[in-house]
Symmetry: C2
Subunit: 187 residues, 2 copies
């Protein structure tokens, strides 16, 4: 039996990723930090001088249907590609109103109205993505999404975010921070 993978994003003054920018899109920001490490496992040791740490867990799909899973699987690539030296960590929280919706109502806003999966598909395989669920862990965010891409694809990644943030789904987002990172060439 597979146990869902727990991941901790710990920011401070050391780590394999250098923080190059933080944009607070909506809601309160996070304390400043210069580097980030990504730790896998349920109870990782906290790194020294930790400014903040956020936890999430990789879980089953919540909205994605079989045809969409197959389309994503056929096009997406994994994390840690050599050329994907740039990354983004986007912690996000949705409103109580979102979570009070029924499953079919959330699905309709997510895909039929906002085309979240469809828009994401257009940016594969350039952008690799991993979603971590945090809401059930009692964390300050509901999701932590991690993206990796080569520097020449950062403009396309930015364009994708503009489209998603303009969608009806984003009316339910009440906290979002966009953290950009560069893989430390020394590590």
């Amino acid at each position: 039996v597979t146990t869902p993978l727990h991941v901790t994003f710990a920011a401070g003054d050391c780590g394999a990723w250098r923080i190059t920018g933080v944009s607070t899109i909506v809601g309160p920001t996070l304390p400043p930090a210069t580097a980030l490490c990504v730790l896998e496992g349920p109870d990782p040791a906290a790194p020294p001088n930790c400014a903040w740490s956020l936890r999430g867990v990789i879980s089953n799909t919540r909205y994605t249907q079989r045809g969409e899973v197959d389309a994503l699987t056929s096009r997406q690539e994994g994390l840690r590609r050599t050329q994907a030296t740039h990354a983004a960590l986007i912690p996000m929280r949705k409103t109580d109103a979102w979570w009070a919706l029924a499953q079919d109502e959330r699905r309709a806003i997510f895909e039929e109205q906002s085309h979240h999966i469809g828009i994401g598909l257009e940016y594969l395989p350039a952008v690799a993505r991993r979603l971590h669920h945090s809401r059930e862990l009692g964390e300050p965010f509901d999701f932590l999404t991690w993206f990796e891409f080569a520097p020449e694809h950062e403009a396309a990644f930015d364009a994708m975010l503009v489209r998603l943030r303009a969608s009806p789904e984003w009316a339910y987002v009440d906290r979002e921070i966009d953290i950009r990172l560069l893989r430390d060439p020394e590590r």
Copy 2:
């Protein structure tokens, strides 16, 4: 913003509920215990002489559609009714094959094929129910479902379980324990 409620079920030799029976339906059982307490909050103090404890979190609906939410809401009653002196705690785990299914595939098995919501509706308001999600917490079970009912409804509750366990959804259940309880009249 509402944080999902964390609940711990701690079994040992004291607690507001007396354990009257344990049936291991599939998979390994749990260590013996005579009483159970239900603790709410993220990090409750462990009671003395704890034999086992299971944690879950009350989260958003995963399969229930708006019409079903409305039907359930109009008929169901809450926990802690005076006459509901009997309870059942049913920890359950599903297979990796279940979790690898896409959202629409799981929904089809859950309701269109197995009528999980529809069967449950027939036993409202006699049986009150609260679902706790455990999979994302790294727990040995995926769900902990808590039921409360008056003694004269226990036979109906048993009949409901027989129907659910005969459904296609249960082909994906690889661990299930049925723990029956009686509210301690002294507490």
